[in-house]
C-alpha cells in the first residue's frame, strides 16, 4: 500500500527529458575532484549512445558557490548565467544541461525569478548587453546531467558488463542514494520524482540491479553549507552533518553510496576519513569506509570502464571492496600511475581507515 502510494507520487513528478542535442556546461567541483566522471559522461552519451552534446571553451563557472557564499550579488550571478544562456543560443542549441547541482538549482531559480519578475529579467538582459554585448535567450529545456543518465538508464543496463549485484552472495548490492539539496528542494517539480521521493538515482539503482536503502536521514544535507565549508573555522558544521548521515545509515549496512551532486561525494568521502582519523570510527566492513560514487562513475563501472580511467584513485575511501563485490577486475599496480603509465610516488596512507 505504502509502496503504491510512493509510485503514485513519483508519477506526479516525472519530467520530460529531450532525447538529443544538448549544450553542456561543466562543474567547478566535479572537474576538480572527479574529472573522470565528466569524461565518462560525455563518452557514454556521445560515443556509446550516439547523442549530440556540445561544449564551448568560453563557458565559465555559473558563480553559484560564490553567490551562495555571498561573495557575489544576485545580479552578478544572474548575468553570468545569462551569458551562459547566450552562448547556448549563439551555438544553435535550445536544450541546456549542466554537470553541477548548485548550478542546476540556480538555473531553475533564475528562470523562475525571471518568469515571476519580468522587470528583473529586463534588467539582467541590459546588464548582459552592456557588459558583454550579448543577447539573452533562455533555454527551452533545462536538465541536470543525472537526468540524462536516468533517461538512458535502461539502455545502459542493456549494455551492462557488471551489475549492482554482490557476486559472492548473488544478492543485490545495498545502495544509499544521496540527492544534492539544490536538485529539487526548492522546485520539486523540476526534479525527477520531486523532493520527497526523488527517483533520479533510485531509478538507476533499480535498473542496474541494486537495492535502494531507505534510512532516517536520507534527505539530510551532506553538510557542504558553502561558507560553512569554505571558511576553515566553520568546517565543524560540514563534518557534523556528514557524521549525522553516516550514523543514521550505518545500521542498514550499505555497500556503497551514489550521489548526483559533485560536492556531496567529496564531503561524504573526505569526512569519513577525518572521522576515522579523529575517533577511530569507520562505517564500512573490516575497517574500510563506505565507498561514495558519482552516478557517472557507477554508470562507468556498470559499462565496464577501468576503475582507474574513471578516476577512482582520487577517492580517499577505498573503492576496492565494492569492485570485488561487483566482480570487477582491476590492476592494483596501475592505481596511482600518471599519464602514459608513468610511475608516481605513492600517496601516504591514513592511520585508522583501511586503504588498498
Amino acid at each position: 500500500m505504502i509502496f503504491q502510494g510512493k509510485q503514485k507520487i513519483w508519477s506526479d513528478y516525472q519530467k520530460e527529458i529531450p532525447d538529443d542535442h544538448w549544450f553542456y556546461v561543466r562543474s567547478c567541483i566535479r572537474q576538480s575532484f572527479f574529472p573522470g566522471s565528466e569524461v565518462a559522461f560525455l563518452d557514454i552519451v556521445c560515443n556509446k549512445l550516439g547523442k549530440d552534446f556540445f561544449e564551448t571553451e568560453h563557458h565559465t563557472t555559473c558563480g553559484g558557490i560564490a553567490y551562495h557564499s555571498e561573495a557575489l550579488p544576485q545580479e552578478t550571478m544572474m548575468t553570468i548565467i545569462a551569458r551562459q544562456f547566450a552562448l547556448m543560443a549563439e551555438h544553435g542549441y535550445k536544450n541546456y544541461v549542466c554537470s553541477c547541482i548548485t548550478s542546476f538549482g540556480l538555473y531553475t531559480e533564475v528562470l523562475e525569478d525571471w518568469r515571476t519578475f519580468p522587470d528583473l529579467e529586463d534588467k539582467i538582459r541590459e546588464h548582459l548587453w552592456k557588459s558583454c554585448r550579448r543577447e539573452l535567450q533562455k533555454p527551452e529545456y533545462l536538465a541536470h546531467a543525472s537526468d540524462i543518465i536516468y533517461k538512458f538508464r535502461n539502455e545502459i543496463a542493456a549494455r551492462a558488463k557488471h551489475r549492482l549485484v554482490n557476486k559472492f552472495t548473488g544478492e543485490p548490492l545495498r545502495v544509499v542514494e544521496h540527492i544534492g539539496c539544490h536538485y529539487s528542494k526548492m522546485f520539486p517539480s523540476k526534479g525527477v520524482g520531486g523532493a520527497e521521493y526523488p527517483y533520479v538515482l533510485a531509478g538507476m539503482i533499480d535498473s542496474w540491479g541494486g537495492e535502494v536503502i531507505d534510512y532516517p536521514e536520507r534527505r539530510h544535507c551532506c553538510g557542504f553549507g558553502f561558507r560553512q565549508y569554505l571558511v576553515k573555522a566553520n568546517r565543524g558544521y560540514s563534518m557534523s552533518n556528514t557524521h549525522k548521515k553516516f550514523e543514521s545509515m550505518e545500521p542498514y549496512k550499505p555497500d556503497m553510496i551514489i550521489t548526483n551532486c559533485p560536492g556531496c561525494p567529496y564531503f561524504m568521502d573526505r569526512w569519513q576519513y577525518v572521522i576515522a582519523e579523529q575517533t577511530g570510527k569507520t562505517y564500512g566492513e573490516n575497517g574500510y569506509g563506505i565507498p561514495v560514487f558519482t552516478y557517472e562513475e557507477v554508470a562507468g563501472l556498470v559499462l565496464g570502464y577501468d576503475p582507474w580511467d574513471l578516476g577512482l584513485q582520487m577517492h580517499q575511501v577505498a573503492v576496492e571492496p565494492l569492485l570485488d563485490k561487483m566482480g570487477i577486475k582491476y590492476n592494483k599496480e596501475d592505481k596511482y600511475k600518471g599519464s602514459g603509465g608513468k610511475i608516481l610516488k605513492m600517496p601516504e596512507f591514513p592511520m585508522n581507515i583501511k586503504c588498498c
Binding site: 567547478c28 571553451e57 565559465t60 557575489l72 539544490h182 582520487m314 600518471g338
Partner: protein, 231 residues
C-alpha cells in the same frame, strides 16, 4: 515600516521568500544549521515580518544570519511556501551593503571568503580551481588530496583533462576574452563594488581591533572564539 526594512524589501529574494509566515517552526525543525548552531530561522523570519528596524539591525550586526548553510531544506517543508533561506540571503547582502557584517565574528569571514571566491573567478573563470585548492588549507582533502596536489599535471592528464589547455574540456584555460567579460559583468552588476565595500569596512575594523590587516584576515578565516554551537 523602518528604513532597513524598506531596503530589505527591494531584494527579490524577500519578495520570493517571504509571503506570510505563520510561525509554525517547521523550518527550524528541518534545518541542519539549527541543530549545529544557536540558530532559529523561524525567529529570523518573524523579525523581518515584524518590520521592526531595531531588531533587524541587531540581526544584521549579529552572528545568526551567518549560520545558514543555504541548503534550502526549509523551502520544501514550509506549509506557506516561504523560503527562510532566501530571507537570510537578503539579510546577508544588506549586512554587507551597510558595512554591518564586520560587527560579528562570522560576518568578518566575508573578507577571506570573498577574496578567495572572486579571485578564483576573475583569474581562472572557476569558483573552485585545483591550483588554489591546497592540502595545507584543506587537510580534510586527505592523503589522496595531498597526492593530487603533488602530482597535479600528471593526475589530471591521465584522466583526460585539458588542464590549462586551449579549447574545450576539463579545467581548460578559460580564454582571456571570456575572463574579460566576467570582469565587465563584475563591474556592471556590483561584484567589484561588493569587494570594495568588504575591504573598506574590514580595514577600519582591523584598526579598531588593533590587528594588522593580514592577521585580521587570517584570524577571520581560521579562528572561532565565541560559543556558536547549539549544545
Amino acid at each position: 515600516m523602518g528604513k532597513l526594512y524598506e531596503k530589505l524589501i527591494l531584494d527579490y529574494r524577500i519578495k520570493e521568500g517571504l509571503k506570510a509566515c505563520i510561525n509554525c517552526g517547521t523550518c527550524t525543525a528541518i534545518c541542519p544549521a539549527a541543530e549545529f548552531y544557536k540558530y532559529n530561522p523561524k525567529n529570523i523570519v518573524n523579525i523581518v515580518q515584524s518590520q521592526d528596524d531595531a531588531q533587524i539591525e541587531e540581526l544584521l550586526k549579529g552572528e545568526q544570519i551567518w549560520y545558514c548553510g543555504e541548503c534550502m531544506s526549509c523551502v520544501t517543508r514550509c506549509p506557506r511556501r516561504n523560503a527562510p533561506g532566501l530571507v537570510v540571503m537578503a539579510l546577508r547582502s544588506l549586512s554587507i551593503d551597510m558595512g554591518y557584517f564586520v560587527e560579528s565574528e562570522k560576518g568578518r569571514q566575508m573578507l577571506p571568503l570573498t577574496r578567495r571566491m572572486q579571485n578564483n573567478i576573475l583569474n581562472y573563470g572557476y569558483c573552485v580551481y585545483p591550483r588554489t585548492f591546497h592540502y595545507s588549507e584543506h587537510p580534510e582533502y586527505g592523503l589522496t588530496g595531498k597526492w593530487v596536489n603533488e602530482n597535479m599535471e600528471e593526475v589530471y592528464e591521465r584522466l583526460g583533462a585539458n588542464f590549462d589547455g586551449k579549447g574545450p574540456g576539463i579545467l581548460r584555460k578559460i580564454p582571456d576574452e571570456s575572463l574579460a567579460e566576467l570582469k565587465a559583468i563584475f563591474d556592471q552588476t556590483g561584484a567589484t563594488r561588493r569587494m570594495e565595500i568588504i575591504e573598506e569596512a574590514s580595514k577600519i575594523k582591523a584598526k579598531e581591533m588593533g590587528l594588522p590587516y593580514d592577521e585580521y584576515e587570517k584570524k577571520a578565516f581560521e579562528e572561532t572564539e565565541k560559543d556558536h554551537l547549539n549544545r
